[in-house]
């Protein structure tokens, strides 16, 4: 047979993509020498951010990864707006440590918040420079020039010149002045418009190159060999014996090993898969975990280090004396990122350089960790980003990149490692489990007067499995002083209300003796809101108040008020006390409302659910979610993000739970870790609260906490029973109904 392969030079690496083309792969002019040296390029130079081509198009160099959230379109909208270019004239390139600027990783839904202003300033700076050139060329003052689609003309005159004619692939060679004027929102043409996403056509035709599609010449196919399901973080996976003869029958297959890091490679992918499955390995099975049935007891009993997040007024005294007091203890499980396509990476490690292609959220961060793994200066390492399937946080993308790197070094050849389903599900950096104790009090007239939240959770793991198995020390991830992502989040825990007396406390558990942890979309916020907003809801109930009205009465500011009312309005919310329509029917319905967010932005949600009291099955029928993310660059895309967040929240509230016994994780595929399917998918109403004059903030995870709370409160409205743990599996629901 013949191989139909397109070869394409990208920098120093010969990459074979099957159809490597499209908007994400702009042609790079060798004259500009982009890609020749290790980055990051100087952020104080206009050329780092932008190139104007002879054909009157522009390339924008962006440091944020397209993860399927549409930021590559939205950031181009920002640049197109300031440059007066049409969206068809502007493109970006894939992230590459030799090419793209370092904007600090694609975390916390901050592409638009952090990246937008930088891209916008750069584009405004470039436009000012181009206008200056045009002024000289057209012999007219800048004030008389107008631009449309990159064509500069003199007001009322006939002379014009294009950006392409002015600069045509030459460098700006300009530092930022910071003086270039930006457009005011009243003049926006592209920002605020629901521009169709530029990646979708190739994604539906099959032309889009995902990481899983990339091949390089001479590469081997590799698979990791690990027990099915991780042990406690820090316990590793000890190899007692490997029988290399057990794969002798598979052509070309052989074992690669460094310490307890074990892999197999073969020329053909199926041979590598078979070898990984056939290889006889005896693992140490010494128990290292509590098992998920004893998890919350272990967390409660642990000796913890208390950290006060905020404290004001007299919480203890007020909670004792208030007219209405509610206290609640809630539990939330480990949940998995579980990307739909397991992570994949290709590494080509040579004696003094390395090229790694992978789906990291942060090419520069990954370059640093690979430098430590290889003991090689990071300038010798080039990391290129290829989109994988949705990651929703720190899935195994770094782990697989390290696995490929170790295996390439051991094999002396490029190695492609594709994780199997059980590798990804079983060795994920899970969203940590949580125990939350909340106390809240209101006075007789319905004003919130005291609030207390204690959260038990462990931190994130700082060492990837591959590195750890190969001998690196397991460490805790240092996330800086911000506690919101690894501990009690003051915005989701009571921050939406005016409460005079408040105390938020973290009980930090050690990262060892638990499962690996990391950021999972809206980290811990679903758990916080589940506990916190149920307590608020319960106060409203005891005050015989409508839960929306009670929240309105205590709301902190107009941004929270905006999303609360937008969600209620979308759902045609009418005022009545919760659980005031209890029915004796087998199948009952309920509605609930909730507020919450992640680090920025504001989220409000309403849920309408159905509970089958005989089977214990709970289904969301309709979810309404409102996000205020300030200036929303692409409202249509944010609506799409809201749809995804609400569906994923329903999945996490009803189905998702990592299970493990004393030896290791046992939820290793879609049967043992089920997620929401079509038949149970609720109707979704997304609402974007557009605020053109406010700074943009995140929109990729900020309504999930609110939706989790709304679902829990809807359950109470339907049944008169509070759930203290999710997911709402039939067994858990039946037990809760029985015990009430």
């Amino acid at each position: 047979m013949t191989l139909r392969r397109d070869f394409l030079k990208t920098g120093g690496a010969l990459v074979i993509g099957f159809h490597l083309r499209g908007s994400l792969l702009a042609q790079q002019k060798p004259a500009a020498a982009r890609g020749a040296t290790a980055g990051p390029p100087d952020p104080k130079q206009v050329d780092t951010w932008l190139a104007i081509h002879a054909d009157n198009t522009a390339t924008v160099y962006i440091g944020f990864a397209e993860l399927g959230q549409g930021n590559s379109t939205a950031l181009l909208q920002v640049a197109a707006e300031e440059l007066d270019l049409d969206m068809s004239q502007i493109k970006t390139v894939r992230l590459d440590t030799n090419v793209t600027p370092n904007q600090g990783g694609t975390y916390s839904s901050a592409s638009i918040q952090r990246g937008g202003p930088q891209v916008r300033t750069a584009a405004a700076e470039a436009r000012a420079a181009l206008l200056k050139m045009a002024s000289a060329k057209l012999d007219a003052p800048v004030g008389l020039l107008v631009v449309s689609k990159g064509v500069v003309s003199v007001k009322g005159g006939s002379k014009s010149v294009t950006y392409g004619q002015l600069l045509g692939d030459k460098l700006f060679n300009l530092p930022f002045t910071g003086a270039a004027p930006e457009k005011s929102p009243s003049g926006f043409k592209v920002i605020g418009a629901s521009v169709p996403r530029n990646d979708i056509p190739d994604k539906v035709s099959g032309k889009y190159v995902y990481m899983q599609h990339v091949r390089v010449p001479g590469m081997l196919h590799g698979r990791v060999v690990r027990p099915r399901g991780q042990r406690a973080y820090g316990a590793g996976a000890k190899v007692n014996a490997v029988d290399e003869a057990s794969i002798r029958g598979i052509p070309g297959a052989h074992v690669l090993r460094k310490g307890d890091f074990l892999g197999v490679v073969a020329d053909n992918q199926w041979d590598a898969i078979r070898a990984a499955q056939q290889l006889k390995v005896t693992w140490d099975t010494t128990p290292s975990l509590s098992g998920n049935s004893a998890l919350y007891e272990q967390m409660h009993a642990a000796k913890t280090e208390e950290q006060v997040v905020t404290s004001s007024g007299d919480v203890e005294g007020t909670l004792k004396s208030a007219a209405h007091v509610v206290s609640l203890t809630c539990h939330a499980p480990y949940q998995a990122h579980a990307p739909f396509g397991p992570n994949c990476a290709i590494a080509d490690v040579k004696a003094d350089s390395a090229l790694i292609m992978c789906s990291t959220q942060d090419v520069y961060g990954t370059r640093g960790s690979l430098a430590r793994l290889l003991g090689m200066p990071q300038e010798k390492i080039r990391v290129q980003y290829y989109e994988g399937s949705g990651t929703y946080g720190h899935s195994c993308y770094d782990d697989v990149a390290q696995a490929a790197t170790l295996m390439s070094k051991l094999a002396g050849k490029p190695v492609r490692v594709q994780f199997m389903r059980w590798d990804e599900h079983g060795w994920d950096n899970y969203g940590p489990a949580h125990v939350g104790e909340v106390g809240a009090a209101a006075n007789a007239s319905g004003k919130l007067i005291a609030y207390e939240y204690h959260g038990w959770q462990h931190s994130w793991s700082g060492t990837e499995t591959s590195a750890q198995l190969a001998g690196a020390m397991p460490t805790e991830f240092f996330a800086g002083p911000t506690q919101g992502v690894q501990g009690v989040n003051p915005r989701t825990c009571g921050g939406m209300y005016k409460i005079a007396n408040q105390r938020l406390v973290n009980h930090k558990l050690p990262a060892m003796n638990y499962l690996k942890g990391a950021w999972l979309r809206s980290p811990l916020d679903l758990a916080f809101a589940f506990a916190s907003e149920q307590a608020i809801d319960q106060l409203a109930y005891e005050l015989e108040m409508d839960p929306h009205e009670f929240r309105q009465k205590n709301i902190a500011d107009e941004r929270w008020q905006g999303v609360l009312d937008a969600a209620a309005k979308a759902a045609n919310w009418t005022h009545r006390q919760a659980a005031s329509n209890l029915s004796k029917d087998k199948v009952v319905t309920g509605r609930g409302i909730g507020l919450g967010t992640h680090l920025q932005s504001w989220g409000g949600a309403v849920a309408e659910i159905e509970v089958n009291k005989e089977t214990g099955r709970v289904v969301a029928k309709h979810l309404y979610g409102a996000i205020d993310a300030g200036l929303t660059v692409n409202p249509g895309n944010v609506e799409n993000q809201i749809v995804g967040q609400l569906v994923q929240t329903a999945s996490r509230m009803f189905h998702e739970e990592v299970t493990f016994d004393k030896t290791g994780v046992t939820s290793t595929d879609w049967t043992t870790y089920p997620i929401l399917r079509f038949e149970e998918c609720p109707e979704i109403t997304p609402v974007v609260v557009q605020r053109l004059d406010e700074k943009p903030s995140g929109a990729g995870e900020e309504v999930m906490a609110a939706a989790a709370a709304a679902i829990a409160n809807a359950f109470f409205d339907a049944t008169g029973v509070r759930m203290h743990e999710f997911p709402f599996t039939p067994a858990r629901v039946l037990a809760a109904l029985k015990s009430s």
Binding site: M1, L3, R4, R5, L67, G68, Q69, G70, P196, R197, D199, I200, P201, K203, V204, G206, K207, Y208, V209, Y210, Q212, H213, N268, Q269, W270, I273, A338, P339, F340, G341, P342, E387, G388, S389, G390, Y392, Q418, M420, R421, G636, N637, N640, Q641, V643, G644, Q645, V647, Q648, S651, D669, W670, T671, I675, L676, R677, F678, E679, C681, P682, E683
Partner: protein, 169 residues
């Protein structure tokens, strides 16, 4: 190779070098360099690797390549031509109506599951041109989307159904 295996993929005969018990997925991705079918679980649980075999949605990750001898395999890449042949259109459109509808609805997020979604929806509409909401959900229930784009996929299938009805008129 002990025996030469030939299979029909997107209406072209292809000679297969892989062993006959190799799952079809790896032949399509590694020998034929097709990008539609893709690895998701290897367990027939998710639908990522789906192709049509004689018009029936099939999980290529658990189908040995010898099992499709004498049959016709259609991947995402071949879907417009498959549609044109079914409908007896003079020319294949650039995209199957289901693909176009996914763009029109801006349904996609990461898009990794869309191979299976589009294959399954195309199979559904070939048998049931005007499916109800419940029929769409039932037919699609074996396909997972981790990004949670199900609601827009349902809208897209409904839109594609209408587009195909227009073509029939």
């Amino acid at each position: 190779m002990a025996s030469e295996l030939r299979i029909r993929v997107n209406e072209e005969m292809q000679t297969v070098a892989s062993a006959p018990d190799t799952p079809l997925l790896y032949v399509l991705t590694d020998e034929l360099q097709l990008q539609g079918p893709r690895f998701g679980c290897g367990l027939a649980q998710c639908g990522s690797c789906s192709v049509l075999v004689n018009g029936v949605e099939t999980r290529s990750c658990v189908t040995p390549v010898f099992a499709v001898r004498g049959k016709s395999v259609t991947t995402l890449e071949g879907l417009p031509a498959w549609y044109a042949a079914q409908r007896r259109l003079k020319q294949a459109p650039a995209l199957h109506p289901v693909q176009q509808a996914m763009i029109d609805e801006q349904a996609v997020q990461c898009g990794y599951c869309y191979n299976g979604m589009i294959i399954k929806a195309s199979e559904l509409l070939s048998k049931t041109p005007e499916p109800t909401d419940a029929q769409i959900r039932t037919a699609m229930n074996g396909h997972l989307c981790r990004c949670g784009t199900y609601p827009r996929i349902i809208l897209a299938v409904q839109r594609a159904s209408k587009m195909m009805a227009e073509v029939r008129k």
